[in-house]
């Protein structure tokens, strides 16, 4: 950029202060407050008594929290395969020269991402409805009436069907990221590989994947952090139920804070969620680096 046109550092910072201030106030400060409050016994009302690590001791022994964490991990795992996997597939398909109406496909794929999670969850819970839902309707029409169940009522199936909804909504998000990442790869590389006789599968695995490694790391981080804080879909579709079968960490922290009026413990749960999310993200990054370290050498 022309040195004369480039704004001074001072002006850069001046423009940045406003959004950074908003971000710090709405995101960073509450995190510090949550850490602070997690050391208190705080039940409904302004009185707080210092409690030390009691809340964290309770957290470690809390079965519902750990089963919620398991549910979050399940959702994350399904999303990585479903969202990123399908997004990669679609991005490869849209990148090939045989694809027509690319713009239309991109728009339609991305459309669910723009809809509010609450609306998507509500529509899908109508699809899963026992009496009137599309799913059971098609099962009955196909003569599979015996397989009809109240899907969201069943502790074994509810979480799986919620994960289906979450995967469906966000495929487009990762697909768009991947499509723009593909533009950074020189298309000549793919053409040369095709001339050399590589089929689509080999091109994807041995050329696209390694070149897009940084993008994948970013997408994994986004996917994991997004699924660790899942709330909307579960809240609308089952409210964590039946019982605690589909409970997720964010929903559990919410119900402890506002329904059981135990905001001290709720804060501790939120910090627990934060720590576990960071741990999983770091662990995944380390895992990927080890996996690719060998290949790059």
């Amino acid at each position: 950029m022309n040195e004369r046109l480039k704004p001074t550092k001072r002006i850069f910072f001046a423009y940045l202060t406003a959004p950074i201030a908003v971000y710090v106030f709405t995101v960073i400060v509450p995190v510090f407050y949550a850490v602070y409050f997690s050391f208190f016994k705080w039940k409904s009302g302004p009185k707080k008594t210092f409690d030390g690590l009691t809340n964290y001791q309770k957290l470690v022994n809390d079965n519902v929290f750990w089963s919620s964490f398991q549910n979050n991990m399940f959702l994350t795992f399904v999303s990585i395969i479903g969202q990123i996997g399908f997004a990669f597939l679609f991005a490869m398909m849209l990148n090939s020269k045989f694809a027509r109406a690319k713009r239309l496909h991109r728009t339609l794929c991305y459309f669910p991402v723009t809809i509010s999670a609450v609306v998507v969850a509500y529509i899908w819970s109508m699809i899963y409805n026992y009496d009137y839902g599309l799913l059971n309707y098609f099962l009955r029409q196909a003569g599979l009436g015996d397989f009809v169940k109240p899907w969201l009522s069943d502790p074994d199936f509810a979480l799986k069907f919620i994960s289906l909804t979450i995967v469906w909504q966000y495929i487009g998000y990762y697909m768009v990221i991947l499509i723009s990442a593909f533009t950074s790869i020189d298309p000549n590389i793919f053409e040369m590989a095709e001339i050399d006789g590589a089929n689509a599968w080999q091109r994807a695995l041995h050329i696209a994947l390694p070149l897009l490694k940084p993008t994948f790391v970013v997408m994994l981080t986004l996917c994991i952090s997004g699924n660790m804080k899942t709330f909307d879909h579960v809240y609308v579709m089952t409210g964590g139920g039946p019982g605690n079968a589909t409970s997720v960490m964010a929903l559990y922290a919410y119900s402890i804070s506002f329904i059981r009026n135990n905001m001290g413990y709720g804060s501790a749960l939120s910090i627990g969620l934060l720590v576990l999310s960071l741990a999983v993200i770091m662990g995944t990054r380390w895992g990927i680096n080890r996996l690719f370290a060998g290949k790059e050498a």
Partner: protein
């Protein structure tokens, strides 16, 4: 000319500035509630409350004015909890019985006992109206509802007659037997929408629990003196009944994934033989049911479960669960005005209005009740509810601490689904109870 104009304008300015100083100071009270526009359109109780607010502001124009902020029922509970935690409550607010203990321990509400004792109309209140708002011998809220039952069975007598039952069964064993007949016809016997986990506990357990345990047991639980535990056999028996109910085929298959409103809808469309719900279903059935369902609806007490021996077989749980509370931080004339408003808002005028306009019951006994033009279902409800007014059988989620209720509600979903054993749930609830003492 210009000078005269300048003089006249200055005079007007001075007068305009001086007027507020000359007028009396009008006290403005902020009031948070869940009486939204939608609620006002949909049910008579809310419409009556809206009338009460306008009526109060009219009567007290120039002296005291209430500024109301309404939000949806679920949002309200969250917002008030957040405001309470931040010590930022409005002057007047709706208070739920189960919050009284926590709020009282934080000194958030004004003590209304003295004012209540001096009230000339205090004997007009139904017995038990103030019960849930009383803690440690002090009264913290004024009632706004009749001690309304939450456990009534609404049955479609035509559907039952078609199945061979001329009268609605009085025991659950008979209901379970009838379920076989109804299942062959393809409709559930009783509609239950327990997705939000409160309906089963609030509408079934509050009453059926009492049939097993008796009210003395419940009072022991409230007192937390160790005389009653959730692991006591009577309560566990009630949980065992819950498990049996879930597996009996009496309920609709998707009872844990549809909401309470959807279950009422099911009944309204004649898709279930019966419905267990509270006083709010009366208005819903009158407003939304098909003419055939409306005509054939009868209201009865819940049937008696087998093995329930600890309580009165005809007990009906009821509660005045919501109150108007006053912020304890108010002082002087504003505090006086707020306390007076809390009592007057849903007091004599409101009760007379509800009786004469809708033929509905309210916190106080009235001289005259409208019967002409009132739907027969409302009259039938008034009879049952009025007869049980002094029963004193409590509604669990109005009296018990929110933490216990949450564990109980979620656990009941699992017991109904057969994924949690009754004894295990009893222990889980008792752990929560022990943590509170």
């Amino acid at each position: 000319m210009k000078k005269i104009l300048a003089l006249v304008l200055t005079l007007i300015l001075v007068l305009a500035l001086a007027t507020p100083v000359m007028a009396e100071e009008e006290i403005k009270l902020t009031f948070s509630n869940f009486n939204t526009e939608e609620e006002i359109k949909n049910n008579a109780e809310s419409a009556g409350r809206a009338w009460a607010l306008d009526h109060f502001n009219e009567l007290n124009a120039g002296k005291v004015q209430i500024e109301s902020t309404a939000m949806s029922h679920d949002d309200y509970a969250i917002k008030i909890q957040a405001q309470a935690a931040a010590d930022d409550l409005p002057d007047l607010f709706f208070l739920k019985g189960s919050w009284v203990e926590n709020f009282a321990e934080n000194d958030l509400m004004a003590d209304l006992t003295e004012y209540y004792n001096a009230l000339p109309v205090k004997d007009s209140y139904y017995a038990g109206e103030f019960k849930s708002a009383t803690f440690g011998g002090k009264i913290y809220g004024t009632p706004m509802q009749f001690v309304s039952p939450t456990s009534l069975m609404y049955s479609n007598k035509k559907l039952w007659a078609d199945a061979g039952y001329e009268t609605i069964p009085a025991t659950f064993d008979e209901v379970f037997a009838a379920a076989k007949v109804f299942n062959e016809k393809g409709i559930p016997t009783i509609a239950l929408g327990n997705k939000d986990n409160w309906p089963y506990e609030s509408c079934w357990i509050s009453c059926l629990g009492d049939r097993f345990t008796g009210t003395a047991w419940f009072n022991g639980i409230l007192a937390r003196d160790g005389s009653a535990k959730f692991t006591d056999p009577a309560f566990v028996d009630m949980l065992k009944f819950t498990k049996a109910l879930g597996q009996s085929g009496t309920l609709n298959a998707d009872f844990n994934s549809i909401s309470h409103d959807e279950s009422i809808s099911m009944y309204n469309q004649g898709k279930s033989a019966s419905l267990v719900s509270g006083y709010w279903a009366v208005a819903n059935i009158i407003g939304n049911a098909t003419p055939e369902v409306k005509e054939n609806t009868v209201i009865t007490l819940l049937p008696q479960p087998a093995g329930a021996a600890g309580g009165d077989p005809n007990s009906l749980s009821n509660a005045s669960g919501w109150f108007v509370a006053v912020n304890n931080k108010l002082e002087g004339a504003k505090r006086e005005a707020a306390i007076k408003a809390a009592f007057e808002l849903y007091g004599v005028d409101y009760c007379d209005h509800m009786a004469l306009t809708y033929g509905m019951l309210s916190p106080m006994k009235v001289k005259e009740m409208k019967t002409e033009g009132v739907d027969p279902l409302t009259i039938a409800y008034n009879e049952i509810a009025g007869a049980a007014a002094a029963s004193g059988v409590p509604v669990y989620d109005v009296e018990l601490n929110g933490a216990i209720i949450d564990v109980m509600n979620k656990g009941l979903q699992e017991v109904l689904a057969g994924t949690l054993e009754p004894e295990a749930l009893a222990e889980m609830i008792q752990v929560e109870q022990d943590a509170l003492s």
